[in-house]
Amino acid sequence: MVIPAATDESPFALLLPIRPISSGSGGKQRFQERIRAAATEAFGGRARLRGSLYARITYLHLQPAMQDVDNLIKRILDAMKGIVFDDDGEVRQCLAERIAVADRFTIAERRRPSGIVDRLLEFLAEGQPHITYIEVGHAARQALSFGPIGEEEQ
């Protein structure tokens, strides 16, 4: 399921009920084709993002998973090259994480309700075993941070 970004100012966002294939495992081509098709549908017509970019990749899984999150990044960014941005070298910040939905977790929205959250809740309610969220936008600033990621969230 593709969630188009709301405006040209918004980051590119995709929510798909699929399991990300990490680099080094099989099914690479099919997975990347699916990402490419979804990205084209969601992003087609918009000017590619340029400059310093961030990428956020979140894999939500219902069953226990052992997937290395560091391996998720490369294939997804490669698949979006030429559609969302020209070169994945422009991505200077990247957060890859996985969330076990059978454990407690939080979904945070800022400023206004998001269509992505509506769709995410539908996927969760349907019991989708694998959900992948991809977001790419302009990096806000360069800053060196310390401590656990997202510790400010309950």
Binding site: V101, A108, L124
Partner: protein
């Protein structure tokens, strides 16, 4: 909503409110926003965060309500909306054929002291409602811990006019079964008769 999920959500709300207060937030519980009620509103400085706790199995029925709640929360000037999703503990299904019969036979052969204390003529009728809390399989056998209920008939009075009083008591067990499912050892077989003594 089932009572268990209701309890799960209520417990999470309570813990969350306590945690937020500890972090210096002012917390309003059951905040009325239009015709919606938000579980918690936490405020500190210019921040005003709405928290809604939902058990994952309830999402399916509450999707529409959540959409309206989020929309109303932002309409009320909330800076952030956080949906906390909790899940019931994962349950593992364990079944051991004939375990009830094994435990009943063991109690018949050697009635637990607490039952004998109630009546020297105690008849073990059956064992049921078993819940296994821990299982460990080793080369020695299958080590099981759990709880159950034993149905008994106790002889009260003289031998000829003895009345049989039926009763059911909870018990705890810790036993070792062989790999052929025969009972090798009963380390614990404690029947709680406190309900009778009351």
């Amino acid at each position: 909503m089932s009572a268990a999920l209701d309890y799960l959500e209520a417990e999470e709300r309570e813990q969350l409110a306590a945690q937020l207060r500890q972090q210096g937030f002012t917390v309003e519980e059951d905040y009325h926003a239009g015709d919606q009620i938000i579980d918690l509103i936490a405020s500190k400085g210019g921040e005003r965060i709405a928290f809604e706790v939902k058990a994952r199995p309830n999402l399916r029925n509450d999707l529409r309500q959540l959409r309206e709640l989020r929309s109303q929360a932002f309409h009320e000037g909330i800076t952030e909306f956080r949906l906390v999703v909790v899940s019931p503990p994962h349950q593992t299904s364990v079944s051991i054929p004939g375990l009830e019969r094994l435990l009943a036979r063991r109690m018949q052969d050697a009635p637990p002291g607490s039952l004998q204390h109630l009546s020297p003529n105690v008849l073990i009728e059956s064992v049921g409602s078993l819940e296994i809390s821990a299982i460990s399989v080793t080369t020695e056998g299958i080590d099981l811990t759990g709880t159950g209920a034993v149905e008994v008939a106790m002889g009260i009075g003289g031998s000829r006019d003895e009345a049989q009083i039926p009763d059911t008591f909870p018990f705890r067990f810790h036993i070792l079964l062989g790999h052929d499912l025969r009972l090798l050892r009963a380390d614990e077989l404690d029947v709680d008769v406190s309900s009778f003594e009351e």
